[in-house]
Symmetry: C2
Subunit: 302 residues, 2 copies
Protein backbone atom coordinates (compact mmCIF):
# COMPACT_ATOMS: atom_id res chain seq x y z
CA UNK A 1 0.00 0.00 0.00
CA UNK A 2 1.31 3.45 -0.90
CA UNK A 3 2.05 5.85 1.96
CA UNK A 4 -1.01 7.76 3.06
CA UNK A 5 -1.12 11.53 2.90
CA UNK A 6 -3.50 14.18 4.17
CA UNK A 7 -4.69 17.56 3.04
CA UNK A 8 -4.08 20.31 5.57
CA UNK A 9 -6.26 23.41 5.29
CA UNK A 10 -5.56 26.64 7.12
CA UNK A 11 -8.67 28.79 7.10
CA UNK A 12 -8.06 32.49 7.58
CA UNK A 13 -10.56 35.31 7.64
CA UNK A 14 -9.63 36.25 4.05
CA UNK A 15 -7.52 33.41 2.62
CA UNK A 16 -7.50 29.62 2.61
CA UNK A 17 -4.13 27.90 2.27
CA UNK A 18 -4.25 24.16 1.66
CA UNK A 19 -1.63 21.54 0.87
CA UNK A 20 -0.94 17.84 0.61
CA UNK A 21 1.07 16.84 3.66
CA UNK A 22 3.14 13.73 4.38
CA UNK A 23 3.49 12.14 7.77
CA UNK A 24 6.87 13.79 8.32
CA UNK A 25 5.46 17.23 7.57
CA UNK A 26 6.70 17.48 3.99
CA UNK A 27 4.35 19.53 1.80
CA UNK A 28 3.94 18.23 -1.74
CA UNK A 29 1.75 20.87 -3.38
CA UNK A 30 -0.40 23.75 -2.21
CA UNK A 31 -3.47 25.68 -3.24
CA UNK A 32 -4.58 29.10 -2.16
CA UNK A 33 -7.85 30.98 -2.56
CA UNK A 34 -10.14 33.53 -0.95
CA UNK A 35 -12.23 32.33 1.97
CA UNK A 36 -15.90 32.17 0.97
CA UNK A 37 -17.61 33.99 3.79
CA UNK A 38 -21.08 34.59 2.34
CA UNK A 39 -22.59 31.51 3.93
CA UNK A 40 -21.77 28.20 5.51
CA UNK A 41 -22.80 26.45 2.29
CA UNK A 42 -20.49 28.62 0.20
CA UNK A 43 -17.70 27.98 2.67
CA UNK A 44 -18.14 24.22 2.53
CA UNK A 45 -18.38 24.30 -1.27
CA UNK A 46 -15.13 26.28 -1.38
CA UNK A 47 -13.46 23.72 0.86
CA UNK A 48 -14.64 20.93 -1.43
CA UNK A 49 -13.17 22.69 -4.46
CA UNK A 50 -9.81 23.11 -2.76
CA UNK A 51 -9.76 19.49 -1.70
CA UNK A 52 -10.73 18.28 -5.17
CA UNK A 53 -7.94 20.32 -6.75
CA UNK A 54 -5.33 18.70 -4.48
CA UNK A 55 -6.71 15.21 -4.02
CA UNK A 56 -5.29 11.97 -5.36
CA UNK A 57 -5.53 8.35 -4.25
CA UNK A 58 -2.89 8.86 -1.55
CA UNK A 59 -5.01 11.39 0.33
CA UNK A 60 -6.77 9.63 3.17
CA UNK A 61 -7.96 12.42 5.48
CA UNK A 62 -8.39 16.18 5.74
CA UNK A 63 -7.40 18.46 8.59
CA UNK A 64 -8.96 21.91 8.95
CA UNK A 65 -7.49 24.61 11.16
CA UNK A 66 -9.79 27.52 11.91
CA UNK A 67 -9.35 30.71 13.92
CA UNK A 68 -11.93 29.75 16.53
CA UNK A 69 -12.39 28.05 19.85
CA UNK A 70 -13.20 24.44 19.05
CA UNK A 71 -15.52 22.10 20.90
CA UNK A 72 -14.05 18.70 20.01
CA UNK A 73 -16.93 16.88 21.69
CA UNK A 74 -19.31 18.27 19.08
CA UNK A 75 -16.84 18.97 16.31
CA UNK A 76 -18.01 22.57 16.19
CA UNK A 77 -16.48 26.01 16.43
CA UNK A 78 -17.88 27.86 19.41
CA UNK A 79 -17.18 31.35 18.14
CA UNK A 80 -16.34 32.24 14.62
CA UNK A 81 -15.90 35.90 13.99
CA UNK A 82 -14.38 35.82 10.51
CA UNK A 83 -15.88 32.68 9.01
CA UNK A 84 -19.57 31.61 8.88
CA UNK A 85 -19.06 28.55 11.04
CA UNK A 86 -20.45 29.45 14.44
CA UNK A 87 -22.10 26.40 15.93
CA UNK A 88 -21.76 24.52 12.62
CA UNK A 89 -20.90 20.82 13.09
CA UNK A 90 -17.92 21.31 10.80
CA UNK A 91 -16.32 17.93 11.35
CA UNK A 92 -19.46 16.00 10.50
CA UNK A 93 -20.57 18.23 7.63
CA UNK A 94 -17.03 18.33 6.27
CA UNK A 95 -16.88 14.55 6.21
CA UNK A 96 -20.15 14.40 4.29
CA UNK A 97 -19.10 17.12 1.83
CA UNK A 98 -15.62 15.77 1.22
CA UNK A 99 -16.14 12.03 1.57
CA UNK A 100 -13.03 11.75 3.73
CA UNK A 101 -12.31 11.61 7.47
CA UNK A 102 -12.01 15.19 8.76
CA UNK A 103 -10.15 16.48 11.81
CA UNK A 104 -10.74 20.05 12.94
CA UNK A 105 -8.74 22.13 15.31
CA UNK A 106 -7.88 25.63 16.35
CA UNK A 107 -5.38 27.25 13.96
CA UNK A 108 -2.85 27.98 16.69
CA UNK A 109 -3.04 24.36 17.87
CA UNK A 110 -2.23 23.37 14.29
CA UNK A 111 0.69 25.80 14.14
CA UNK A 112 2.00 24.41 17.43
CA UNK A 113 1.96 20.85 16.09
CA UNK A 114 3.82 21.95 12.96
CA UNK A 115 6.49 23.98 14.76
CA UNK A 116 6.95 21.11 17.20
CA UNK A 117 7.24 18.47 14.48
CA UNK A 118 9.45 20.20 11.92
CA UNK A 119 9.94 23.77 13.14
CA UNK A 120 11.49 25.74 15.96
CA UNK A 121 10.23 23.42 18.71
CA UNK A 122 11.39 20.07 17.31
CA UNK A 123 12.93 17.77 19.88
CA UNK A 124 11.05 19.26 22.83
CA UNK A 125 8.58 17.46 25.07
CA UNK A 126 7.01 20.59 26.58
CA UNK A 127 6.48 23.55 24.25
CA UNK A 128 4.22 26.59 24.28
CA UNK A 129 3.27 28.30 21.01
CA UNK A 130 2.06 31.89 20.78
CA UNK A 131 0.84 33.29 17.47
CA UNK A 132 0.78 37.07 17.56
CA UNK A 133 -1.82 38.10 14.99
CA UNK A 134 -5.18 39.80 15.22
CA UNK A 135 -5.30 38.27 18.68
CA UNK A 136 -2.86 35.96 20.42
CA UNK A 137 -3.41 32.32 19.61
CA UNK A 138 -1.98 29.58 21.77
CA UNK A 139 -0.98 25.96 21.41
CA UNK A 140 0.39 23.56 24.01
CA UNK A 141 2.60 20.54 23.49
CA UNK A 142 2.73 18.85 26.90
CA UNK A 143 4.48 15.55 27.49
CA UNK A 144 5.07 15.12 23.79
CA UNK A 145 1.53 15.63 22.58
CA UNK A 146 -0.97 18.35 21.80
CA UNK A 147 -2.99 19.29 24.88
CA UNK A 148 -6.64 20.04 24.11
CA UNK A 149 -8.39 20.00 27.49
CA UNK A 150 -11.72 18.51 28.39
CA UNK A 151 -13.77 19.98 25.52
CA UNK A 152 -10.97 20.69 23.04
CA UNK A 153 -11.04 24.39 23.85
CA UNK A 154 -7.80 24.65 25.83
CA UNK A 155 -4.79 26.85 25.08
CA UNK A 156 -6.66 30.12 24.66
CA UNK A 157 -3.46 31.72 25.90
CA UNK A 158 -4.38 35.13 24.53
CA UNK A 159 -7.16 35.18 27.09
CA UNK A 160 -5.07 34.90 30.23
CA UNK A 161 -5.81 37.85 32.50
CA UNK A 162 -2.77 40.14 32.53
CA UNK A 163 -4.45 43.17 34.06
CA UNK A 164 -7.31 42.51 36.46
CA UNK A 165 -10.40 44.58 35.58
CA UNK A 166 -8.45 46.04 32.63
CA UNK A 167 -9.81 47.07 29.22
CA UNK A 168 -12.40 44.84 27.59
CA UNK A 169 -11.25 42.43 24.89
CA UNK A 170 -11.73 43.40 21.29
CA UNK A 171 -14.30 41.26 19.51
CA UNK A 172 -16.58 38.70 21.06
CA UNK A 173 -14.84 38.11 24.38
CA UNK A 174 -16.33 39.81 27.44
CA UNK A 175 -13.12 39.45 29.45
CA UNK A 176 -11.05 42.31 30.79
CA UNK A 177 -7.32 42.90 30.67
CA UNK A 178 -6.55 39.81 28.61
CA UNK A 179 -3.02 39.17 27.31
CA UNK A 180 -4.00 39.66 23.67
CA UNK A 181 -5.38 43.10 24.38
CA UNK A 182 -1.83 44.29 25.07
CA UNK A 183 0.56 42.34 22.87
CA UNK A 184 -1.19 41.33 19.64
CA UNK A 185 -1.08 42.76 16.14
CA UNK A 186 -4.35 44.56 16.90
CA UNK A 187 -2.73 46.21 19.89
CA UNK A 188 0.11 47.33 17.62
CA UNK A 189 -2.40 48.62 15.05
CA UNK A 190 -4.04 50.79 17.69
CA UNK A 191 -0.72 52.20 18.81
CA UNK A 192 0.18 52.90 15.17
CA UNK A 193 -3.10 54.77 14.72
CA UNK A 194 -2.35 56.92 17.74
CA UNK A 195 1.21 57.70 16.67
CA UNK A 196 0.92 57.96 12.90
CA UNK A 197 -2.74 58.55 12.11
CA UNK A 198 -5.82 56.44 11.43
CA UNK A 199 -4.57 54.72 8.26
CA UNK A 200 -1.48 53.28 9.97
CA UNK A 201 -0.97 49.75 11.16
CA UNK A 202 1.50 47.50 12.94
CA UNK A 203 3.75 47.27 9.87
CA UNK A 204 4.36 51.01 9.92
CA UNK A 205 4.94 50.90 13.65
CA UNK A 206 7.53 48.16 13.26
CA UNK A 207 9.17 49.87 10.29
CA UNK A 208 9.37 53.16 12.20
CA UNK A 209 10.96 51.39 15.15
CA UNK A 210 13.52 49.78 12.87
CA UNK A 211 14.28 53.28 11.55
CA UNK A 212 14.94 54.42 15.11
CA UNK A 213 11.71 56.38 15.71
CA UNK A 214 11.71 56.81 19.48
CA UNK A 215 7.97 56.81 19.95
CA UNK A 216 7.68 53.57 17.99
CA UNK A 217 10.57 52.00 19.88
CA UNK A 218 8.99 53.07 23.16
CA UNK A 219 5.61 51.63 22.22
CA UNK A 220 7.11 48.31 21.15
CA UNK A 221 9.22 48.22 24.32
CA UNK A 222 6.08 48.54 26.39
CA UNK A 223 4.37 45.82 24.35
CA UNK A 224 7.46 43.65 24.75
CA UNK A 225 7.32 44.04 28.52
CA UNK A 226 3.72 42.83 28.51
CA UNK A 227 4.62 39.97 26.21
CA UNK A 228 7.34 39.08 28.73
CA UNK A 229 4.89 39.15 31.64
CA UNK A 230 2.54 36.83 29.77
CA UNK A 231 5.42 34.51 28.93
CA UNK A 232 6.48 34.59 32.59
CA UNK A 233 3.04 33.29 33.57
CA UNK A 234 3.45 30.52 31.00
CA UNK A 235 6.89 29.61 32.37
CA UNK A 236 5.54 29.47 35.92
CA UNK A 237 2.59 27.37 34.80
CA UNK A 238 4.27 24.97 32.36
CA UNK A 239 8.04 24.98 33.01
CA UNK A 240 8.42 24.46 29.24
CA UNK A 241 11.60 23.84 27.30
CA UNK A 242 10.61 26.44 24.72
CA UNK A 243 8.12 29.17 23.89
CA UNK A 244 7.79 29.56 20.12
CA UNK A 245 6.57 32.94 18.84
CA UNK A 246 4.85 33.07 15.46
CA UNK A 247 2.11 34.99 13.69
CA UNK A 248 2.41 38.07 11.51
CA UNK A 249 3.23 40.43 14.36
CA UNK A 250 5.67 37.80 15.64
CA UNK A 251 8.00 39.04 12.89
CA UNK A 252 8.69 41.97 15.24
CA UNK A 253 10.07 39.58 17.86
CA UNK A 254 13.58 41.02 17.52
CA UNK A 255 12.20 44.39 18.66
CA UNK A 256 10.10 42.90 21.45
CA UNK A 257 12.56 40.37 22.79
CA UNK A 258 14.87 42.39 25.02
CA UNK A 259 12.16 44.10 27.10
CA UNK A 260 10.23 40.82 27.10
CA UNK A 261 13.19 38.91 28.52
CA UNK A 262 13.80 41.54 31.20
CA UNK A 263 10.22 41.24 32.38
CA UNK A 264 10.23 37.47 32.05
CA UNK A 265 13.31 37.23 34.29
CA UNK A 266 11.59 39.43 36.88
CA UNK A 267 8.21 37.68 36.83
CA UNK A 268 9.21 34.03 36.30
CA UNK A 269 10.74 31.64 38.82
CA UNK A 270 13.85 29.51 38.59
CA UNK A 271 14.64 26.93 37.38
CA UNK A 272 12.07 27.37 34.59
CA UNK A 273 13.00 30.95 33.74
CA UNK A 274 16.66 29.97 33.25
CA UNK A 275 15.82 26.91 31.23
CA UNK A 276 13.18 28.15 28.80
CA UNK A 277 14.24 29.16 25.30
CA UNK A 278 12.26 31.84 23.48
CA UNK A 279 12.31 30.97 19.79
CA UNK A 280 11.04 32.56 16.61
CA UNK A 281 8.71 30.29 14.65
CA UNK A 282 10.32 28.85 11.53
CA UNK A 283 7.44 27.85 9.29
CA UNK A 284 5.89 31.23 8.59
CA UNK A 285 2.45 31.22 7.03
CA UNK A 286 2.63 27.50 6.23
CA UNK A 287 2.58 26.46 9.90
CA UNK A 288 -1.21 26.23 10.19
CA UNK A 289 -1.55 24.25 6.96
CA UNK A 290 1.21 21.78 7.81
CA UNK A 291 -0.15 21.35 11.32
CA UNK A 292 -3.70 20.79 10.09
CA UNK A 293 -2.34 18.10 7.79
CA UNK A 294 -0.40 16.48 10.63
CA UNK A 295 -3.44 16.55 12.90
CA UNK A 296 -5.45 14.79 10.18
CA UNK A 297 -3.13 11.78 10.55
CA UNK A 298 -4.77 11.26 13.96
CA UNK A 299 -7.83 10.12 12.00
CA UNK A 300 -5.77 7.35 10.38
CA UNK A 301 -4.40 5.86 13.59
CA UNK A 302 -5.84 3.29 15.96
CA UNK B 1 4.00 -11.08 48.68
CA UNK B 2 2.04 -8.71 50.90
CA UNK B 3 0.76 -5.50 49.36
CA UNK B 4 3.34 -2.75 49.34
CA UNK B 5 2.71 0.50 51.15
CA UNK B 6 4.46 3.85 51.30
CA UNK B 7 5.01 6.55 53.86
CA UNK B 8 3.75 9.96 52.79
CA UNK B 9 5.28 12.96 54.53
CA UNK B 10 3.87 16.46 54.29
CA UNK B 11 6.50 18.94 55.40
CA UNK B 12 5.16 22.27 56.58
CA UNK B 13 7.05 25.24 57.92
CA UNK B 14 6.13 24.30 61.50
CA UNK B 15 4.67 20.75 61.43
CA UNK B 16 5.40 17.45 59.74
CA UNK B 17 2.45 15.13 59.10
CA UNK B 18 3.33 11.61 58.00
CA UNK B 19 1.32 8.45 57.41
CA UNK B 20 1.39 4.96 55.98
CA UNK B 21 -0.52 5.05 52.70
CA UNK B 22 -1.95 2.25 50.61
CA UNK B 23 -2.14 2.28 46.84
CA UNK B 24 -5.82 3.30 46.93
CA UNK B 25 -5.08 6.25 49.20
CA UNK B 26 -6.17 4.64 52.44
CA UNK B 27 -4.19 5.93 55.44
CA UNK B 28 -3.35 3.30 58.05
CA UNK B 29 -1.66 5.32 60.80
CA UNK B 30 -0.18 8.77 61.11
CA UNK B 31 2.50 10.61 63.02
CA UNK B 32 2.85 14.32 63.64
CA UNK B 33 5.71 16.41 64.99
CA UNK B 34 7.38 19.79 64.79
CA UNK B 35 9.53 20.45 61.75
CA UNK B 36 13.21 20.58 62.75
CA UNK B 37 14.39 23.80 61.11
CA UNK B 38 17.75 24.34 62.87
CA UNK B 39 19.76 22.65 60.13
CA UNK B 40 19.53 20.29 57.20
CA UNK B 41 21.03 17.52 59.35
CA UNK B 42 18.44 18.04 62.07
CA UNK B 43 15.71 18.04 59.44
CA UNK B 44 16.88 14.76 57.91
CA UNK B 45 17.27 13.19 61.35
CA UNK B 46 13.73 14.25 62.17
CA UNK B 47 12.46 12.67 58.95
CA UNK B 48 14.27 9.45 59.82
CA UNK B 49 12.63 9.37 63.26
CA UNK B 50 9.19 9.83 61.76
CA UNK B 51 9.80 7.12 59.20
CA UNK B 52 11.14 4.71 61.81
CA UNK B 53 8.10 5.25 64.01
CA UNK B 54 5.76 4.31 61.13
CA UNK B 55 7.77 1.75 59.25
CA UNK B 56 7.09 -1.97 58.95
CA UNK B 57 8.00 -4.58 56.33
CA UNK B 58 5.19 -3.46 54.04
CA UNK B 59 6.67 0.01 53.57
CA UNK B 60 8.63 0.09 50.32
CA UNK B 61 9.12 3.77 49.56
CA UNK B 62 8.78 7.26 51.00
CA UNK B 63 7.22 10.35 49.42
CA UNK B 64 8.04 13.82 50.70
CA UNK B 65 5.97 16.87 49.85
CA UNK B 66 7.62 20.20 50.59
CA UNK B 67 6.46 23.80 50.19
CA UNK B 68 9.06 24.64 47.53
CA UNK B 69 9.68 24.70 43.84
CA UNK B 70 11.25 21.34 42.98
CA UNK B 71 13.89 20.59 40.39
CA UNK B 72 13.17 16.93 39.62
CA UNK B 73 16.28 16.64 37.46
CA UNK B 74 18.45 17.19 40.53
CA UNK B 75 16.01 16.06 43.21
CA UNK B 76 16.45 19.40 44.97
CA UNK B 77 14.26 22.21 46.20
CA UNK B 78 15.12 25.43 44.41
CA UNK B 79 13.83 27.77 47.08
CA UNK B 80 13.00 26.80 50.58
CA UNK B 81 11.87 29.64 52.74
CA UNK B 82 10.57 27.74 55.76
CA UNK B 83 12.72 24.62 55.79
CA UNK B 84 16.56 24.34 55.60
CA UNK B 85 16.54 22.54 52.25
CA UNK B 86 17.58 25.11 49.69
CA UNK B 87 19.74 23.43 47.09
CA UNK B 88 19.92 20.25 49.19
CA UNK B 89 19.77 17.04 47.10
CA UNK B 90 16.85 15.87 49.22
CA UNK B 91 15.93 12.84 47.15
CA UNK B 92 19.44 11.38 47.20
CA UNK B 93 20.21 12.27 50.82
CA UNK B 94 16.78 11.09 51.92
CA UNK B 95 17.39 7.71 50.28
CA UNK B 96 20.70 7.37 52.09
CA UNK B 97 19.25 8.45 55.44
CA UNK B 98 16.14 6.32 55.21
CA UNK B 99 17.38 3.31 53.27
CA UNK B 100 14.29 3.43 51.07
CA UNK B 101 13.44 4.82 47.63
CA UNK B 102 12.37 8.44 48.04
CA UNK B 103 10.17 10.58 45.80
CA UNK B 104 9.99 14.31 46.41
CA UNK B 105 7.49 16.80 45.09
CA UNK B 106 5.91 20.14 45.68
CA UNK B 107 3.25 20.00 48.41
CA UNK B 108 0.50 21.35 46.16
CA UNK B 109 1.34 18.75 43.51
CA UNK B 110 0.91 16.14 46.23
CA UNK B 111 -2.42 17.62 47.32
CA UNK B 112 -3.57 17.60 43.68
CA UNK B 113 -2.77 13.90 43.32
CA UNK B 114 -4.65 13.11 46.52
CA UNK B 115 -7.76 15.15 45.67
CA UNK B 116 -7.77 13.63 42.20
CA UNK B 117 -7.38 10.06 43.45
CA UNK B 118 -9.78 9.99 46.40
CA UNK B 119 -11.01 13.57 46.89
CA UNK B 120 -13.05 16.22 45.15
CA UNK B 121 -11.50 15.66 41.72
CA UNK B 122 -11.89 11.91 41.44
CA UNK B 123 -13.06 10.72 38.05
CA UNK B 124 -11.67 13.71 36.14
CA UNK B 125 -8.98 13.62 33.46
CA UNK B 126 -8.15 17.34 33.58
CA UNK B 127 -8.13 19.00 36.99
CA UNK B 128 -6.51 22.10 38.42
CA UNK B 129 -5.76 22.33 42.15
CA UNK B 130 -5.29 25.61 44.01
CA UNK B 131 -4.20 25.61 47.64
CA UNK B 132 -4.91 28.96 49.25
CA UNK B 133 -2.44 29.23 52.11
CA UNK B 134 0.51 31.50 52.82
CA UNK B 135 0.77 31.70 49.04
CA UNK B 136 -1.26 29.99 46.36
CA UNK B 137 0.04 26.54 45.49
CA UNK B 138 -0.91 24.83 42.27
CA UNK B 139 -1.16 21.31 40.95
CA UNK B 140 -2.15 20.10 37.50
CA UNK B 141 -3.68 16.79 36.52
CA UNK B 142 -3.64 16.79 32.72
CA UNK B 143 -4.71 13.82 30.65
CA UNK B 144 -5.04 11.68 33.75
CA UNK B 145 -1.60 12.29 35.23
CA UNK B 146 0.34 14.83 37.24
CA UNK B 147 1.98 17.41 34.98
CA UNK B 148 5.43 18.46 36.18
CA UNK B 149 7.01 20.28 33.23
CA UNK B 150 10.53 20.03 31.92
CA UNK B 151 12.36 20.44 35.24
CA UNK B 152 9.61 19.40 37.63
CA UNK B 153 8.89 23.01 38.55
CA UNK B 154 5.57 23.48 36.75
CA UNK B 155 2.21 24.47 38.24
CA UNK B 156 3.42 27.51 40.16
CA UNK B 157 -0.09 28.83 39.60
CA UNK B 158 0.21 31.40 42.37
CA UNK B 159 2.80 33.13 40.24
CA UNK B 160 0.65 33.85 37.22
CA UNK B 161 0.68 37.59 36.52
CA UNK B 162 -2.74 39.00 37.38
CA UNK B 163 -1.79 42.67 37.43
CA UNK B 164 1.03 43.72 35.11
CA UNK B 165 3.70 45.74 36.96
CA UNK B 166 1.65 45.34 40.17
CA UNK B 167 2.93 44.99 43.73
CA UNK B 168 5.98 42.82 44.33
CA UNK B 169 5.46 39.28 45.62
CA UNK B 170 5.89 38.62 49.30
CA UNK B 171 8.93 36.49 50.08
CA UNK B 172 11.61 35.41 47.65
CA UNK B 173 9.85 36.00 44.34
CA UNK B 174 10.83 39.14 42.43
CA UNK B 175 7.68 39.07 40.30
CA UNK B 176 5.01 41.75 40.29
CA UNK B 177 1.25 41.48 40.47
CA UNK B 178 1.20 37.72 40.90
CA UNK B 179 -2.06 35.88 41.62
CA UNK B 180 -1.05 34.89 45.15
CA UNK B 181 -0.39 38.49 46.10
CA UNK B 182 -4.14 39.12 45.84
CA UNK B 183 -5.98 35.98 46.83
CA UNK B 184 -3.92 33.99 49.37
CA UNK B 185 -4.13 33.67 53.12
CA UNK B 186 -1.33 36.24 53.39
CA UNK B 187 -3.39 38.68 51.37
CA UNK B 188 -6.27 38.07 53.79
CA UNK B 189 -3.95 38.56 56.77
CA UNK B 190 -2.92 41.95 55.44
CA UNK B 191 -6.50 43.03 54.92
CA UNK B 192 -7.33 41.85 58.44
CA UNK B 193 -4.46 43.92 59.83
CA UNK B 194 -5.78 46.99 58.05
CA UNK B 195 -9.35 46.50 59.18
CA UNK B 196 -8.95 45.11 62.68
CA UNK B 197 -5.43 45.98 63.83
CA UNK B 198 -1.98 44.43 63.66
CA UNK B 199 -2.75 41.28 65.66
CA UNK B 200 -5.53 40.19 63.35
CA UNK B 201 -5.38 37.53 60.67
CA UNK B 202 -7.44 35.88 57.97
CA UNK B 203 -9.46 33.88 60.52
CA UNK B 204 -10.79 37.03 62.09
CA UNK B 205 -11.52 38.47 58.69
CA UNK B 206 -13.49 35.39 57.70
CA UNK B 207 -15.29 35.25 61.06
CA UNK B 208 -16.22 38.93 60.79
CA UNK B 209 -17.57 38.39 57.29
CA UNK B 210 -19.67 35.47 58.52
CA UNK B 211 -21.03 37.79 61.22
CA UNK B 212 -22.05 40.23 58.50
CA UNK B 213 -19.32 42.87 58.99
CA UNK B 214 -19.61 44.91 55.80
CA UNK B 215 -15.94 45.84 55.55
CA UNK B 216 -14.93 42.20 55.88
CA UNK B 217 -17.56 41.11 53.36
CA UNK B 218 -16.36 43.81 50.97
CA UNK B 219 -12.72 42.78 51.32
CA UNK B 220 -13.50 39.12 50.73
CA UNK B 221 -15.70 40.03 47.77
CA UNK B 222 -12.78 41.85 46.18
CA UNK B 223 -10.48 38.91 46.87
CA UNK B 224 -13.08 36.59 45.42
CA UNK B 225 -13.21 38.65 42.23
CA UNK B 226 -9.45 38.28 41.85
CA UNK B 227 -9.66 34.58 42.60
CA UNK B 228 -12.25 34.39 39.83
CA UNK B 229 -10.01 36.22 37.35
CA UNK B 230 -7.16 33.82 38.11
CA UNK B 231 -9.49 30.85 37.71
CA UNK B 232 -10.71 32.33 34.42
CA UNK B 233 -7.13 32.32 33.13
CA UNK B 234 -6.86 28.68 34.18
CA UNK B 235 -10.11 27.80 32.39
CA UNK B 236 -8.93 29.53 29.22
CA UNK B 237 -5.56 27.77 29.42
CA UNK B 238 -6.63 24.27 30.46
CA UNK B 239 -10.33 23.82 29.72
CA UNK B 240 -10.42 21.62 32.84
CA UNK B 241 -13.32 19.58 34.16
CA UNK B 242 -12.76 20.90 37.66
CA UNK B 243 -10.83 23.41 39.72
CA UNK B 244 -10.40 22.15 43.30
CA UNK B 245 -9.82 24.76 45.99
CA UNK B 246 -7.99 23.74 49.15
CA UNK B 247 -5.61 25.15 51.72
CA UNK B 248 -6.38 26.84 55.03
CA UNK B 249 -7.81 29.99 53.49
CA UNK B 250 -9.73 27.78 51.05
CA UNK B 251 -12.14 27.18 53.96
CA UNK B 252 -13.50 30.64 53.12
CA UNK B 253 -14.50 29.45 49.65
CA UNK B 254 -18.21 29.85 50.44
CA UNK B 255 -17.59 33.58 50.99
CA UNK B 256 -15.37 33.95 47.93
CA UNK B 257 -17.34 31.83 45.49
CA UNK B 258 -20.10 34.14 44.29
CA UNK B 259 -17.88 37.09 43.30
CA UNK B 260 -15.35 34.60 41.93
CA UNK B 261 -17.94 32.97 39.67
CA UNK B 262 -19.19 36.36 38.43
CA UNK B 263 -15.68 37.33 37.39
CA UNK B 264 -14.93 33.88 36.01
CA UNK B 265 -18.00 34.07 33.76
CA UNK B 266 -16.86 37.47 32.49
CA UNK B 267 -13.20 36.58 31.92
CA UNK B 268 -13.44 32.96 30.73
CA UNK B 269 -14.58 31.69 27.35
CA UNK B 270 -17.19 29.10 26.48
CA UNK B 271 -17.38 26.15 26.37
CA UNK B 272 -14.81 25.82 29.18
CA UNK B 273 -16.42 28.36 31.48
CA UNK B 274 -19.77 26.59 31.32
CA UNK B 275 -18.24 23.17 31.78
CA UNK B 276 -15.81 23.69 34.65
CA UNK B 277 -16.89 22.81 38.18
CA UNK B 278 -15.39 24.75 41.08
CA UNK B 279 -15.10 22.34 44.00
CA UNK B 280 -14.02 22.57 47.61
CA UNK B 281 -11.18 20.18 48.47
CA UNK B 282 -12.33 17.21 50.54
CA UNK B 283 -9.21 15.91 52.25
CA UNK B 284 -8.33 18.87 54.45
CA UNK B 285 -4.88 18.87 55.98
CA UNK B 286 -4.29 15.21 55.05
CA UNK B 287 -4.19 15.94 51.31
CA UNK B 288 -0.45 16.61 51.14
CA UNK B 289 0.42 13.51 53.17
CA UNK B 290 -1.84 11.19 51.18
CA UNK B 291 -0.57 12.65 47.90
CA UNK B 292 3.07 12.30 48.93
CA UNK B 293 2.38 8.66 49.73
CA UNK B 294 0.65 8.13 46.38
CA UNK B 295 3.52 9.79 44.52
CA UNK B 296 5.97 7.45 46.27
CA UNK B 297 4.28 4.54 44.50
CA UNK B 298 5.84 5.91 41.29
CA UNK B 299 9.15 4.63 42.68
CA UNK B 300 7.76 1.10 42.80
CA UNK B 301 6.54 0.96 39.21
CA UNK B 302 8.40 0.09 36.04
Amino acid sequence: MAAQRTIGIDVGGTKILAGVVERDGTVLRTERRDTPVESTEAFLAGLAEVVDSLRDDSVAAVGIGIPSTIDQREGTSVFSVHVPLEGVPLRERGERYLGLPVAIDNDANAAAVAEWTIGAGRGTQHMVMLTLGTGIGGGLILGGRLYRGASGAAAELGHMVLEFDGPECRGFCTGRGHFEYFASGSAANEVADELFGPESDSRQLVAAARDGDERAVGALTQMGRKLGAGMASLVNIFDPEAIVIGGGFGDALDLLLQPAMETLRRDALPPGRDRVRILAAELGEEAGMVGAGLIAFEKLEG
